[in-house]
């Protein structure tokens, strides 16, 4: 068969494009599970701290630990099963650590109220989704923007119901978002 250089270049571009889309699909599948985990963990934490405010610090400390260890476990398990070439997986964990670290630095510098912290920390995650979505896919941008709007709605409009609203927002946004991403990225 004879292929001219223009045709060869076009074919290589097609290959690169499909490979990138396939990797994105696999990434969605992994991150869908992670979002569902964080949705469950953070929604439970908001409910617990609503009724046991004295336990706020240890509850959130345990929640973050469970979320982070669970994330590492999900990524490691999925990589072992699928042996895919998606290097972005571990970057999720690095990005989480960076976001968590910077959130703590901002809180230390700005000394916000507890209510402001409760709105700020999940918004940092949503900020991460929007920023990450610019690289990994538009679904994350949508998820981040919807999540941010819901947090702001609760913060400015729902007064004493804010904590329970946040439990609902974290549960619905992250768990449904995670289910949606899994549907997009199912690999069997």
């Amino acid at each position: 068969m004879t292929i001219d250089p223009a045709d060869a270049a076009a074919s290589l571009r097609d290959i690169a494009s499909v490979e990138q889309r396939t990797r994105q699909t696999i990434f969605y599948a992994t991150s869908g599970w992670i979002l569902m985990l964080w949705g469950a963990v953070s929604a439970s934490s908001y409910v617990i701290t609503e009724f046991l405010p004295r336990w706020t610090a240890p509850v959130w400390g345990i929640a973050w630990l469970v979320g982070l260890v669970g994330t590492v476990g999900l990524i490691a398990g999925r990589r072992r099963r699928q042996r895919t070439q998606v290097r972005a997986d571990w970057r999720i964990v690095y990005a989480m650590v960076v976001l968590m670290g910077y959130a703590q630095v901002f809180i230390a510098v700005l000394s916000p109220t507890y209510r402001q912290i409760d709105a700020f920390q999940p918004m940092i995650w949503m900020f991460g989704f929007v920023l990450g979505g610019i690289w990994v896919g538009r679904h994350f941008i949508g998820l981040g923007l919807v999540g941010t709007c819901l947090i702001l709605l609760g913060y400015f409009g729902l007064g004493p119901w804010f904590h329970l609203w946040m439990a609902l927002v974290q549960g619905v946004t992250l768990i449904l978002g995670g289910l949606g991403l899994r549907r997009i990225g199912e690999i069997r």
Binding site: I3, L12, R21, T25, T84, R188
Partner: protein
């Protein structure tokens, strides 16, 4: 320079092999997922998968997930080899172009 692969070079089949080649080992892609990734219709994708299966480049498995029938596809080792050789051939063409 080794020759190109007529079966793989067709546009849709090239995309199918590129997508399946990203998955490692025995991992399958569901038919509907693959259809979206390569921008093909059901009939078109089915016909090209049939060609690739007859060449021994993909394995197709039909099964039931609950009560829903599911078709899933994976690249065979021979398919991965043929795809890698074809990509190398395409790169050689570009490298040797004036």
């Amino acid at each position: 320079m080794s020759g190109g692969n007529d079966i793989i070079h067709q546009a849709v089949r090239l995309k199918i092999m590129a997508s399946l080649n990203v998955l490692h080992g025995d991992n399958f892609l569901e038919f509907t997922r693959l259809r979206g990734l390569v921008d093909a219709t059901d009939g078109n994708l089915g016909a090209h998968l049939d060609t690739l299966e007859r060449a021994g480049y993909v394995a197709i498995e039909k099964r039931f997930e609950g009560k829903k029938p599911q078709t899933r596809v994976r690249a065979t080792p021979a398919g991965r080899r043929a795809f890698a050789e074809h990509v190398a051939y395409l790169r050689e063409i570009l490298d040797s172009a004036p």
